[in-house]
Every structure is written in structure tokens, then in C-alpha cells.
């Protein structure tokens, strides 16, 4: 077997008296995409932030390519330059242009010349599809674009692994797709990734392994097919049921038919058209829109 990129042994983390991580052991192999899921407060983000020591672990061992990163002989900055992180809130450097955001660590950590760094920045910005935004500032970009820049910033360092800390949680729903697309492309290109996310679709599609965390321990871990279709742990089952229902509930236009074959896709559109026609005939113009919504709600409630 290959040497793992990250090996975590008995990791514990306490904030004061509160134990957040209670003995986590896990391994990440090269080119693997490991997705960490679990209810909020289960310690997913803390686990991720312990991996690069943004949070100092209380106990346990973390090996990065075989080296104990807790050891005093290890320069944590060198480890971090090879284990980049993408944050929930992007955390782009607001006072620097997109390109400078990407090149800052290249020139100041890797000591690459500015010209070479610029070249690398152009390349990575092309990969995330933001070449034309190179001279813009983060404050001028949408959330999705900012997160793509953050991914480019991590990618430019040519890291061994990228840690994603809920990369889509702060995004408007319509901007999530562009970020997930970039992440999928990354995964397909063979990047090793540890992803904390609530995007079950991404987990299902891209994960080599899904880790389900609950109350500071790894409750279950395995390939996505197994976790999603046949979870062994009761808590995993409850969590998945809840979160999948939430996702469905978030889509207001999706009728919740129990038997899909009885629900032709056009039904919603048909209903809308009928309702609109009816309202045209019977209602005052300013009430037409309200009526349309009402009709939809009623249909949904009935089911």
C-alpha cells in the first residue's frame, strides 16, 4: 500500500472543558477524495483545522507524509504550504487583486520570482475559469467567483492535499454549482482532497470515501454507495434522512409525489398554466401573481 498523505491517530481536541474531538483516527491516501459529513457541532471543521494546526490538537498524532507535524523539528509553515485550505468564507485578501491573491504565497513562502508566480497564477486562474478577473479585486466578485479564486490560490501552491472547509455553505444556492464544478474537475485531475460539506450530491458522486462524524467521533466510514444506501449506524441513517428531506424541502417547486411514475414532470407547469388562465378570467390583475403561488402551495400541502 502507498504511504498515506495524512494519517491521524487518536486525535483529541478540547476547547476548555468541552471535548470536541474524542479520539479520531483516519487515513487519507494519495488521489483520494474523502468527504466528511455530519450534523453541525459534530467536530468536522475542527478536525479539518487540526490537520494543518490552525487549531492546536490537545492530544493524538497527525502524520503528514509520514512526518509528525506536532514534532518541534517540523516547520509547520512548510507543511501548510503543501496542505492548503479553502474556507467557508473564502478569506481572500481583500486589498490584493485576484492575481496577487494567488501569487502572494508563491513569492513569500516558496520564494518564486514574481514573473514565474504570475505565470503560475495565469495557469491556475484559467483552470477555474477566471482569467478575465485577474486584475479585479475580491470585493468586486460574486461569492462563487471568490471561492473559485480561493481554490486557485490553494491550487497554485501545488499542494499534496487541499482541505475544503464547507466551501459552498456561505454561497447563494445559484452559485454553488460553479464551485462544485471546479471541485469536481480537481478531483478528476487526481488532487487529494478532504472535504467537509453538506453537499450530499457531491459526496455521493465524487467521494472515494465518506466519513460520518457525530459528537466528536467517526460514527461510520466507507464508500459513498454504502453510506448513502445502506448505512449501518443508526445515527447516520437519521442524519441522512433529515438532510435529504431538508434539501427536498428547500426546493419549493418540487411536488412531493410518493410514486414518481404518477407525477409527470410537466404537471407543475400545466398547473401553473391552468392557474394563470383561470386567474386571468376571474381575478383582478394585481392578484394574479398571488393566486399562482397559492395554487402551488395548495397542491403541495395535499400530498
Amino acid at each position: 500500500m502507498e504511504t498515506p498523505i495524512i494519517e491521524v491517530i487518536g486525535l483529541e481536541k478540547a476547547f476548555g472543558d468541552h471535548m470536541v474531538l474524542k479520539g479520531i483516527s483516519m487515513t487519507v491516501y494519495p488521489k483520494e477524495v474523502v468527504v466528511v459529513i455530519g450534523p453541525s457541532g459534530s467536530g468536522k471543521s475542527t478536525l479539518l483545522r487540526c490537520l494543518n494546526r490552525l487549531n492546536e490538537p490537545t492530544n493524538g498524532k497527525i502524520l503528514f507524509q509520514g512526518y509528525d507535524i506536532m514534532s518541534p523539528d517540523i516547520d509547520i509553515n512548510v507543511v501548510r504550504s503543501q496542505m492548503n485550505m479553502v474556507f467557508q468564507n473564502f478569506n481572500l485578501f481583500m486589498h490584493l487583486s485576484v492575481k496577487k491573491n494567488v501569487t502572494l504565497a508563491l513569492t513569500s513562502v516558496k520564494k518564486i520570482t514574481q514573473e514565474e508566480a504570475d505565470r503560475i497564477a495565469d495557469e491556475t486562474l484559467l483552470k477555474v475559469g477566471l482569467t478575465e478577473k485577474a486584475d479585479a479585486y475580491p470585493g468586486q466578485l460574486s461569492g462563487g467567483q471568490q471561492q473559485r479564486v480561493a481554490i486557485a490560490r490553494a491550487l497554485a501552491m501545488d499542494p499534496k492535499v487541499i482541505l475544503f472547509d464547507e466551501p459552498t455553505s456561505a454561497l447563494d444556492p445559484e452559485l454553488i454549482g460553479e464551485v462544485l464544478d471546479v471541485m469536481k474537475k480537481l478531483a478528476e485531475s487526481g488532487m487529494t482532497m478532504v472535504v467537509v460539506t453538506h453537499e450530499m450530491g457531491f459526496a455521493r458522486e465524487m467521494a472515494d470515501r465518506v466519513i460520518f462524524m457525530d459528537e466528536g467521533v467517526i460514527a461510520e466510514s466507507g464508500p459513498p454507495e454504502e453510506i448513502f444506501t445502506n448505512p449501518k449506524n443508526e445515527r447516520t441513517r437519521i442524519f441522512l434522512k433529515r438532510i435529504l428531506k431538508e434539501i427536498e424541502d428547500m426546493d419549493p417547486l418540487k411536488p412531493k409525489y410518493e410514486t414518481p411514475e404518477l407525477a409527470p414532470e410537466a404537471e407543475g407547469v400545466k398547473a401553473a398554466e391552468e392557474g394563470y388562465k383561470w386567474s386571468q378570467e376571474h381575478k383582478e390583475p394585481d392578484e394574479q401573481k398571488r393566486w399562482l403561488g397559492f395554487k402551488f402551495l395548495k397542491r403541495d400541502k395535499k400530498k
Partner: protein
């Protein structure tokens, strides 16, 4: 009413020499206060109690006592310890020490206005604490701190008049001299008040220019 405006013209060069010294004193003490303020401000955000507590005591002491007393202490008080500074040196030192206390708070406020995520992002990419501070945090902190710095700079220009009490020959001292021979306090004081106003006005315009020049595109305050 007996206002004789001609005394301004007659003593113009004399007053301008005073104004020149006021400008030099202000610039020097603002600059020294700025550098000292950054140093003390960095101490104030330190987690080491041996650094944090002395710097906090410094700020409290200079903020909590009258500047005039501080000037007297530096000029006259230090002579009890056989340290004899010239009025000029003592004046600038007292103003700088005082301004450093205020400017350190402005600087600290600027640093703490930057979201924690900026430091985390910089550190997570392998930048050292100092690199993150100087390349990421401080450039943003100084931008945010420009408006309160403007206030402090104007305060410094006006407070520099206090060193006239230890006979530094700046604008206010010169004015007093002119009054003692012309007996025209209103005319002379209104004239130097106008000169002080000119100095602070140029300062505020300059700072406003800096704010615009270094505004971050896409952020609040940018055009």
C-alpha cells in the same frame, strides 16, 4: 473697539517663523508617534503578559493625564534626575510620547477590525506570523484606520501649541510675544487661529486623498 490689523503685517515674518516651527514640531511628533504607536499597538495585541501589561499601563498613563503636565514632567521633572533636555527636545519628546499612546490605540483598532479569517488564510498557506502581519493584516488595518488617524493628526497640530508653555518658540509663543508689545490679543490670536486652521485643513484634505488613493476596489468607501 480698537482693532489694529496692521500689526499682522508688521510682525508677519516673525509669526511665520513661529508657524514654521509649529509645522516642524507637528510633523516630527506625528511621525515619531506613528512609529511608536505601531510598536505599542503591536505590544497591546500580544498574548504575552510581560508585553501586554506594560504597554497597556503606558497607554492608560498618557491618556489619563493632561498633556501639559506631561510636557512639564519631561522638561522640568526630568531635571531632578539630572536629565536636562532642551525645551525643543523635551517638547517634541512629550508630544511624541503622548501621540504614540493615542496612535497605538488607533492602530490596534485597525488591526482588530480585520476579520480573523484573513490571518487564518495567510497562515494556512504557510506565511509566518510576521509575513501575515506585514503583507496581509497591516496594509488593510492602516486603510481602515485612516479616518481616526486624521483626527489624531489634527489634534497633534493643535496641541503642539502647549509647548509654548516651556518657551519653545513656535506659533503660539510668537503670538504671545507680539501681543506683549502690540496689545492686540484679538487680532493676533484670530490670525494664528486661522493659521492653525489652514494646517489642519491641509492635513484633512491630504488624508482624504490617501483614503481615496488607497481605497480597495469593491469595498465600502471605494468609488
Amino acid at each position: 473697539m480698537n482693532l489694529d490689523w496692521s500689526v499682522i503685517g508688521e510682525n508677519f515674518n516673525y509669526l511665520m517663523a513661529g508657524a514654521e516651527l509649529t509645522i516642524i514640531i507637528s510633523i516630527l511628533s506625528i511621525f515619531l508617534g506613528f512609529v511608536g504607536g505601531i510598536f505599542i499597538g503591536m505590544c497591546r495585541i500580544s498574548k504575552n503578559p510581560l508585553i501586554y501589561y506594560p504597554s497597556t499601563a503606558y497607554v492608560e498613563a498618557f491618556r489619563g493625564t493632561p498633556l501639559l503636565i506631561q510636557i512639564f514632567l519631561v522638561y522640568l521633572g526630568l531635571s531632578s534626575f539630572n536629565i536636562q533636555l532642551s525645551a525643543w527636545d523635551a517638547g517634541i519628546l512629550a508630544l511624541s510620547l503622548n501621540s504614540a499612546a493615542y496612535q497605538s490605540e488607533i492602530f490596534r483598532g485597525g488591526i482588530q477590525s480585520i476579520p480573523k479569517g484573513q490571518m487564518e488564510a495567510a497562515r494556512s498557506m504557510g506565511l509566518t506570523y510576521n509575513q501575515s502581519m506585514f503583507k496581509v493584516i497591516i496594509p488593510q488595518a492602516l486603510r481602515n484606520a485612516l479616518p481616526p488617524y486624521t483626527n489624531e493628526f489634527c489634534t497633534m497640530i493643535k496641541d503642539s501649541s502647549l509647548v509654548s508653555a516651556i518657551s519653545v518658540m513656535e506659533l503660539t509663543w510668537s503670538a504671545k510675544n507680539v501681543i506683549s508689545v502690540t496689545f492686540q490679543p484679538f487680532v493676533v490670536y484670530i490670525f494664528i487661529a486661522f493659521l492653525y486652521f489652514l494646517m489642519t485643513f491641509v492635513t484633512t484634505r491630504f488624508m482624504r486623498y490617501l483614503e481615496k488613493r488607497y481605497a480597495i476596489p469593491g469595498m465600502m468607501g471605494a468609488e
